[in-house]
């Protein structure tokens, strides 16, 4: 049994002038203890929404369906009120732009202690000490606990946010673009930190990013999202060497090579609108291998190899696999 299992996650948003946006259209994935899963896709593909949905952090305009299981316990279907019990203690999150995750008028230490005391995992001096230990764990001197967020640099704040997320010893850590807007050196440190946390604490991490090199570096497996759906999912190496969805292949091709002369190719076109029902494959308009069936028939997510799934008709046509790896 996986640590975290998501089945058929759906999210709709009511739009201000009527109509609905189908932001997440049936996602399935799972994470095991100590595993690092990447959730990849273009901006607006729904990956942040999917992540927020796991913790029920959606606005009132949202409607949700599906199942979220942590160690076999369903946590989603009870609604906002029931979710509170699991927040931070079972699953915690590090937000995009952690600069603002901290309340500017309270000390960093107090904000780490806050969930501890509320959930009852520690109180008083014990809590303070644990908070200090957490800061040390992420590479920040314990004395900084008494400082205010604006006194921290961007990278330190990000690390402090990770420390805060660990306050109640969660099983799963959700990280939304944890390295965006940080310089390369700091990025590397943060990623290293995440790796060591999964290794040493048995934490499971879901990392949302549009930055492929990050995923390639840090994650064991990845889910590639397109238009609110899973396009492909599997081990990183396999996705890189044997992608079974044109989008995955093009994504890897679009990533610039640091060394080498390969041209930077971007994927022309734009993702489809999600406020209308889709017919056929959502990627079809931009796909370089589309054929007739793609326009009318929506591909289902199918297993193409061990722990490797893809939603593409090409896999039905030629089971041996279409699309070469990027050389």
């Amino acid at each position: 049994m996986s640590l975290l299992e998501v089945r058929d996650l759906q999210v709709w948003f009511d739009l201000p002038h009527g109509g609905r946006l189908h932001a997440v259209q049936g996602m399935n994935f799972a994470v095991d203890v100590g595993e690092r899963l990447g959730l990849v896709g273009e901006s607006g593909c729904g990956k942040t929404t999917a992540l927020l949905a796991l913790m029920g952090l959606l606005p009132p305009s949202a409607e949700v369906d599906g199942t979220v299981l942590i160690d076999g316990t369903e946590i989603l279907r009870g609604g906002e009120d029931a979710m509170r019990a699991y927040r931070w203690t079972d699953v915690a999150m590090v937000f995009q732009g952690a600069m603002n995750a901290f309340n500017p008028v309270k000390t960093v230490g107090s904000q780490i202690v806050e969930p501890m005391e509320f959930h009852g995992t520690a109180t008083g001096a014990v809590a303070k000490r644990e908070a200090a230990d957490l800061l040390e764990l992420v590479g920040i001197p314990a004395a900084a606990a008494g400082r205010y967020p604006h006194e921290f640099s961007g990278g330190m704040r990000q690390r402090a946010a990770i420390a805060m997320a660990l306050a109640c010893g969660p099983k799963v850590l959700l990280a939304d673009e944890p390295t965006t807007a940080l310089d390369v050196m700091v990025q590397a440190q943060i990623l290293e930190l995440l790796v060591s946390l999964t290794r040493d604490l048995g934490l499971a991490v879901i990392l949302v990013t549009h930055d492929l090199p990050v995923v390639a570096q840090v994650c064991d497996r990845a889910v590639v999202m397109y238009a609110g759906r899973t396009a492909e999912s599997g081990p990183i190496d396999t996705l890189f060497h044997d992608p079974r969805h044109p989008y995955t292949r093009l994504l890897f091709e679009a990533t610039p090579d640091l060394i080498g002369d390969a041209e930077v190719v971007s994927i022309p076109g734009a993702p489809p609108r999600l406020d209308r029902p889709l017919v056929g494959c959502p990627f079809e308009p931009r796909c370089d291998r589309a054929f007739d069936r793609c326009k009318v028939d929506t591909p289902r997510l199918a297993v193409v190899a061990a722990r490797h799934e893809a939603a593409c008709h090409l896999n039905d046509v030629a089971p041996a696999g279409i699309g070469s790896g990027v050389g």
Binding site: W88, T89, A92, N100, A101, F102, V105
Partner: protein, 324 residues
Amino acid sequence: MRRTDYVIKRIFFAVMTVFVAITINFLLFRALPGSAVTNFARAPHASPELRATLTHEFGLDQPLWKQYALYLNQLVFHGNMGISFADNQPVTSELAGKLKNTIGMVFVGTFLAIVIGVVTGFLAAWRRGGAVDHASTSSAIVFYALPTQFIGMMLILLFASVLPTAGMRNQVNAFFSGGSTWSNLKDIGLHMILPAVTLALTLFGEYTLVVRSAMLETLGEDYVLTARAKGLPQRRIVVSHALRNAMLPIATLVALSLGFIVAGAILVEIVFSWPGIGQAVYEAVATRDYPMLQGAFLILTLSVVFFNFIADLLYFKLDPRITE
């Protein structure tokens, strides 16, 4: 050490502002050519001895810069603001008494306004777009727009038979003359209701709108989402994070509205014949009692500068980001 720096800077600023006000005061009343205005000593019905004393104290027969120095000297070291043209009494002591009357009424009115403003502003933000929001915002705008004296006059029209609407039988100064302390207090209290309510009605609108705006801003901040993600219940997040942070712009607002409070207080005192500084201004204008008018201006400015300074300190204490 940085934080003490800030306090010192604010003190310096306050002192400078008062200084500027004093100078404006002096120039307005002295540097004008001719006219009865300029002669401090030309109090009607003043005895020759009194005139001589005043001329000496304020150097009215000396060059301008010397007059200024003497004026400052009298003001700062002796608290001497001249003699009222109306009754030849020292301006300072008269105004001190009236100030006491004003303070009580203004505090009650402003406090009421803040309470109404915070409550309605918060509700409007919490239930944004709903009926409560529209009702709160609309009434805030309406009362903010209506002239203070008009609100007062309407209240008199509506409540003249129910509540006292003018003056006070015994001024607070005459606390121990006639009647028990309790009946005096009750008398003051009853008389204070309409003026304080008028002041509150005139002031709350601005507060409602700012509180609403501050709350909306705060509720959209990322740290509120983080707090929610931590599993904290709504009530706790609102109190411990949202309100706590919204206090900052609200505190600034109250400080900035001090000028408006003064304006409102003056108008309210006139309408209800409340024997305070506002009333003193009114009478001084009517009787061209220039020393009194000058004195009232200075006292009012001093009060505003003082409360502004307090607000600065408060803000400074609430927001750790201020280092300078």
